[in-house]
Symmetry: D2
Subunit: 303 residues, 4 copies
């Protein structure tokens, strides 16, 4: 895709943002109270499943792994009477290279601005004074829909570098008898996690399956509220000349669509199969990190 075509697509999608210049919530505005209430109706089996993967160890796709260290062991002498505690400390990158997380809208700057014209200098060493993850402190609660592209294709996973366009998303909808609608949190499975589980991790900075930038027009049209994937939604290498993460740019910077990266659907897929449905109540609860550019997250699907 040429730089000029991408720019035109970007400008068109950005131009469709209807919430005014003061808006900081982006496509989460699509989630109205009515839609939250309706999404609760998706709960029928009373079953919840995690969409996150466990904190990953060092690997070719995880050069700065998060670590968790013990501070206290319950088997050691305690400093308080009558009880002893186990406690630990966490050190992790918020945008862990392969750890499940949500990107705040301040995460991406393109052409000199972040979402809705906010200037990059709103982010300093002290954090983001605008568009931080605190804007999502009440969570993302809405209807989730999973589109399973490898299932559509009859393959275990998409090969790194492959991409998913709008037509294929529509085809997956048809095959799965579900239709993505306004305020939905869309999850697109490309099989990244399954390939990693079977073949081991690789350098995803160089090759990764994801969405084609043109698919974002589909999301805009359907008024999707947020987008998650078992990859990071962007392909590598980029299909756009001169722009490394075009889906990040379109989603976060142009459309205000929060991204959920490196999720896992190994629990969700069989749950959806058992339920005979690909929609569910979805709850994403970012940590409350003032000024934060995102948060590690464990999105929960409730069927």
């Amino acid at each position: 895709m040429s730089a000029a075509s991408f720019r035109a697509l970007h400008d068109r999608l950005r131009g469709q943002v209807p919430w005014g210049t003061a808006d900081r919530r982006g496509a989460l505005n699509h989630i109205t109270p009515e839609r939250v209430a309706a999404a609760a109706g998706e709960v029928r089996l009373g079953r919840s499943v995690t969409l996150a993967a466990p904190l990953a160890r060092s690997a070719p796709d995880n050069p700065e792994p998060g670590t968790r260290h013990m501070k206290r062991l319950p088997g050691e002498p305690s400093d308080v009477p009558g009880v002893s505690f186990a406690a630990d400390q966490l050190v992790m990158n918020v945008h862990g290279d392969v750890d499940s997380h949500i990107d705040a809208l301040c995460h991406v700057s393109y052409d000199g601005t972040m979402y809705n014209g906010v200037k990059p200098d709103a982010v300093t060493c002290q954090g983001a004074s605008e568009l931080s993850i605190e804007d999502v402190r009440n969570g993302i609660v809405g209807r989730g829909v999973l589109l399973d592209v490898p299932r559509l294709r009859g393959v275990p996973w998409l090969e790194p570098g492959d991409s998913v366009g709008a037509a294929e998303l529509a085809a997956a909808e048809a095959a799965q008898h579900v239709r993505v609608g306004p305020g939905d949190v869309l999850f697109v499975r490309v099989g990244h996690r399954r390939r990693r589980a079977e073949h081991g991790p690789w350098d995803v900075a160089k090759s990764r399956a994801g969405l084609h930038p043109t698919a974002m027009a589909f999301l805009a049209e359907r008024q999707v509220a947020a987008l998650g994937s078992d990859s990071n939604s962007d392909t590598a290498p980029s299909v756009v000349e001169g722009v490394a993460f075009p889906v990040h740019v379109l989603a976060i910077q142009a459309m205000g669509v929060h991204l959920l990266d490196y999720l896992q659907f190994d629990d969700l897929v069989p749950a959806c199969e058992a339920a005979g449905r690909w929609s569910f109540l979805c709850v994403v609860a970012p940590l409350r990190l003032p000024g934060g550019t995102g948060s590690p997250a464990n999105p929960i699907a409730i069927l």
Copy 2:
């Protein structure tokens, strides 16, 4: 409360655990699929609110504050073409002294064992091989009920050192026209956050309002699945001779009740008032930390 009385209470509550020696989920077993589905019916307004407080700064009650540091600024030259990113790193204690978090069942050891007889040596420097927070990876999803004790008493908060017993919980139920039932996640407000907001932080290790240990019999009888508070549920100083955190011991170690500590209800209370109800759908989504003794968390109430 004498050590002997506490021991008797402990043994009685522990003896009521009905899930067999292999159980690792404790009172979460009270949350059946039917109850999850029913809890979804609590959603009527389509409104979600956070029950977590923002990551706290250094203070008398927060001697080892978590920190969040920038790794990349969007206003600086980018290492990828056409886009720049904001990114940060998080360093925090899982049981942050005043940060909202969930305790895993491995968090507490009493009398030489953790929950259900698991030995403390199941927790090593590598983490917990049993009873870790990974056992809650699918989240806690159920009906939440908030009992507001200062509201009952007509005071802004309970003074540090004060405690709430079973009778007062029952009185709050009556006053609020709600009844705690099997599988509920019970939230007890003691006003800790409001006092902190108005008077500033103090050394909570020395004085803190919480539940009286005898209140745990009420929770057992009602088959509560988990317990959260704006304090850490335990009073300081302890009302039990020789046992520093008796509610932690009874809840986590004896009954298998996960605790949610240092929550905030400033958003929930007005939301409940607006809804005219004190129950809601509750979703707690711990991070996936293999071996972890707990997790920072942002519980979400959906009304």
Copy 3:
């Protein structure tokens, strides 16, 4: 001291820097090979003492304490045959509020530049591309001289807010029969650590003993290579109108004098007394932190 007077002092001291615009080592240039060799002659007793304090815990002067956590315990099962290890991880601020450390020349920016006209944008989220602590990777090795101001005054310590001027430094020289000369590392004791040990920590951001800015002219005249103190060399409140850390500005930004902050001289003072001399070989070995703005350090005095 008025802002104008300070500005004049600053400009005069900065104007005396003789090493050209490309210089990045500042006053360390005063340490010539001949002076290093001569400094080795200071070693007579064959005794070394630390000038650092142990990593400090949370305290009113240490709101973000460094932490050290275990990663492996030797008493636990080992993952390698025949041996087991103890290992830990360190998390600490490089300019720990009360931990002994060295400031790199990029640490201070005044009037839009760092040392020798380097622009602040040489420091990004990736670190300092100029004036980083890597410029001191071969250590600071030279003659150290300790001037003990409380000893001169016959008091245990200087009260917070008090300051030491040039005349008093000269008086301490005379009283101790030592003369600070070219290439020396000057240590000025104000008794901060001793006061802290006896009265407990206090909020040093508000009150702290240190050097008077005019004392820096004395250091310039004597061609001092680096300056260390048991405080951070600057008084609080500042004696300069509108400039918070005037000694930091003059030393680091104007003169290129590296500062060593929050040292302790409790071991050095009796060693000097025993030696009957106040000069010694001094070795400061910063960690090799590419892009770093300083380093925790344990300066060693060898008598």
Copy 4:
């Protein structure tokens, strides 16, 4: 080498420790004041060089890289008047897999004890109550000697898996006209860093050049005070049946010899060549980490 032979060697070397059961300094006892004073006489050129490598990035031999993050940028608005600061935070493993560091004597446990019979339970999650790096708080100051084994062999480096025995150390002494003596800090170059620089990092856990365990008898006989290497002194795979790090066991646990791991000699070798000598004054200044199992370090050689 059979397990039995190793055990015999271990017991023999351990049996030679002459400092009594209360000793906690081990072979550092060989460094007497007289030897420190004599070592100062090694300084002739007045030149100091670092023996540490810069903090390493993620690599096959560095799966948990240390990180350094900015806390403040000097180009951003300052929270104090008239000056702005650059500051950062450090997160690193003390025994960084490829970062230069010193092992404390509590680092190794073998056969149920650490050095001099100290039990492993002296190390808890709170750190080491005995044999911690605080025992070296006054630094290691003494004569350093570099033996360059690749130079002796006429090769750029020893291949991973290769080992250096006592005879080869003696041959290197003869070739370099230097003799290792009581209280010396011995540095053995195997060329690890040079191979890494030319061929890139590899998985050193599987293959690594080092010393042969029998070489430790040579060190004991010569009364070496500490041992450093550009590898970690141990070969991989181990040459001893059933014991993974035999040199660590013999040095630290049996003999009380502190190890300095993953140093670099690229600056020292040409400095020694220029000086025409392979001995120098050596200063190692560990950070003051109470309870610590070691410390990152930048040993300084002064010629």
